[in-house]
Symmetry: C2
Subunit: 347 residues, 2 copies
DNA sequence: GTCGTCTTAGAAAGGCCTTTCTTGAAAAAA
DNA sequence: TTTTTTCAAGAAAGGCCTTTCTAAGACGAC
């Protein structure tokens, strides 16, 4: 182990092994014949210095960095962490380094990360989950998609629609609209007519799609628009709880809560329990996502399963294997009936 | 928007603006006076090409990449995602890109990522949570810590002890030993004498520390060693459930379950509920960590709070601000009494 | 009008690796 | 033995940016 002032370089290794830098490079990359004796001397020198290659020098030549960017709202939200897991299940088999970036749902932070990743010549970038519908943001996204394409990388939209006019990006679709539709139909079948819908933040692609699904299904099932109350939260457990507490304190009349994600549904469960309202005897609760914990709360949450891990894996495959604009559909959403929804009381 | 075959470079921008590359660099870095009219022309050209700087070329000069590596077992485990959030709360205020790498608890994967990050000339790397106690692995860790130090970066051990003989690394301590001690003392005070302890995987720093804490406290409280049954799981919810199901089917006699993390404790709750055993009336359950969901399961989980987010933030600060070997202690652990533990039945 | 001082910009080297093009030597073929 | 082929290794350019050193011009001061 030799301590040098500057970094150990390939040249250092070369001179210790008594060969040219080219030879060291070839040993390390293994794409060119090198005599065994030479190789051994080189490897000895590599070990001696504990030499590690400098990706930056290499990236300068190949214009590739081995980085796969994953931009999402918050790793600590199980929805996103499941997707991230799906991504990593694919990248773990490659030399790619998956870089997970938390935006905290801030579209500007999203753009900042996109720029940063572009700066790092990321081989691909996956944008997970909801996005802003603001035209400025969408425009910037298109710009970045094109920029990425120009540097031979791919931007993949996972679980959000492609901004209008993008041809340079990939997409993994998930049926947000169908998910809430399924949930609402289920509730309607159980006889619920007065529904509290817990929506996500406004001007957000997923919020819009899920709300439209819920409202569309309600209409089909002849539930009057005024009988479904829509309240907007921020998709956190706490916000679900607060929204329901508010509704309760206002004396709002509802027999079911349809939350646009499981975290808020779990918050709703907490609020109802605290208020002494039985679930599902008095009020039914349905979520969306089917995050792992949904099965373990009490009562176990009835929800609509989104194929989170599969979405992540599909996006990663699109990003790293195909490297081509195109789209894939994740497996269909699926109603998971557990204990939190039951027939409406008929009193 | 001009589509070029090769990437747009600083030279392209320079010639469009009619200046030298040096000037463009100076405009972009803003660390040298440039006349306003020149700057404007340069910025116009930058916008025209949608030019983004190449980090690799820059990293070649500065030997820094702006990357902070975070190596952890699994982002979808709330413990780790909370720590990750803590890290990102610090990096979000900088130009640093936090890179989260999932090892799936595989020590070799951990080393692989460490090497990869070294290759990328990461400015710092944080190793989160339990590590292998295997001497080979520990030795490799020391080697990487020194390698990182030599390239001006820092390796930080967050929530795991420094391998013996490391001087080139940072550390954020967390009191694993004290956590289980607290939990066990609590159980003992409630009168429990026959305890099922759900441990983590063997040969793992955290498993060892937590087990020692639990056993030490049991001894102090005069609980016979043979009255605490230790079963090893993999820290997943599912494994907690299975371990308790097994114990139950074997007719093991216990009045309390002490799980070495909350996820396993939640699994235990599920198993007990399925077996029709009342918690906490018949059996008490205590966890460790205090992950967010712990408050929302039924019964709400009594647990020992580990300052996860603070640990992440402390590690990030050590890594990016101080850039010096040294250690910090996270805030102390704390017993959170909720509903899953009650006095032992005296029958 | 000349000299000195700022201010602003350019030239060129340097940072680390890969790869194409060459070359030298050894092995195989004639 | 001579010629051709094969194998292994080196020389050097190139990739993109930063920064030191140098210089041109503008402006004030004397």
């Amino acid at each position: 182990m030799v301590i040098t002032e500057r970094q150990t370089t390939l040249n250092d290794v070369a001179s210790r092994a008594g060969v040219s830098p080219a030879t060291v490079s070839r040993v390390l990359n293994g794409n060119y014949p090198v005599a065994t004796s030479t190789r051994d001397r080189v490897l000895e020198a590599v070990r001696h210095y504990d030499y590690v290659l400098n990706v930056h020098a290499r990236a300068l030549i190949h214009a590739q960095s081995g980085i796969l960017g994953v931009i999402l709202a918050d790793v600590s939200d199980p929805f996103f962490s499941e997707v991230a897991r799906g991504v990593q299940s694919v990248t773990a088999q490659t030399d790619l380094l998956a870089v997970i970036c938390n935006t905290g749902s801030d579209p500007d932070q999203e753009l900042k990360y996109l720029n940063l990743l572009r700066t790092h010549r990321a081989d691909a970038v996956i944008l997970v989950g909801a996005g802003s519908e603001h035209p400025r943001i969408q425009g910037e996204l298109v710009r970045h998609a094109e920029g990425l394409a120009r540097q031979g990388s791919l931007l993949v939209f996972c679980g959000r629609p492609l901004p209008g006019g993008t041809t340079a990006a990939g997409a993994v679709d998930v049926d947000n609209h169908g998910a809430t539709e399924l949930a609402m139909v289920h509730l309607a079948r159980l006889g619920h007519r007065r529904i509290l819908y817990l929506a996500g933040p406004p001007a957000n692609t997923t919020t819009t799609a899920r709300l439209a699904g819920a409202l569309g299904a309600a209409k089909k099932r002849r539930i009057a628009r005024r009988d479904v109350t829509v309240r907007a939260g921020d998709l956190s457990r706490r916000s679900g709880q607060e929204l329901v507490e508010e509704a309760l304190s206002e004396g709002l009349d509802f027999t079911a809560v349809l939350a646009s994600n499981d975290l808020m549904a779990i918050g709703a469960l907490v609020a109802l329990r605290r208020a002494g309202i039985g679930v599902p005897d008095q009020v039914s609760v349905v979520g969306i996502d089917d995050i792992p914990i949904a099965a373990d709360v009490t009562p176990a949450l009835t929800t609509v399963r989104l194929p989170m891990e599969e979405m992540g894996a599909a996006a990663a495959k699109l990003a790293v294997q195909e490297r081509m604009p195109g789209s894939r559909s994740a497996p269909p959403v699926q109603l998971i009936e557990r204990e939190s929804a039951a027939p409406a009381r008929t009193d």
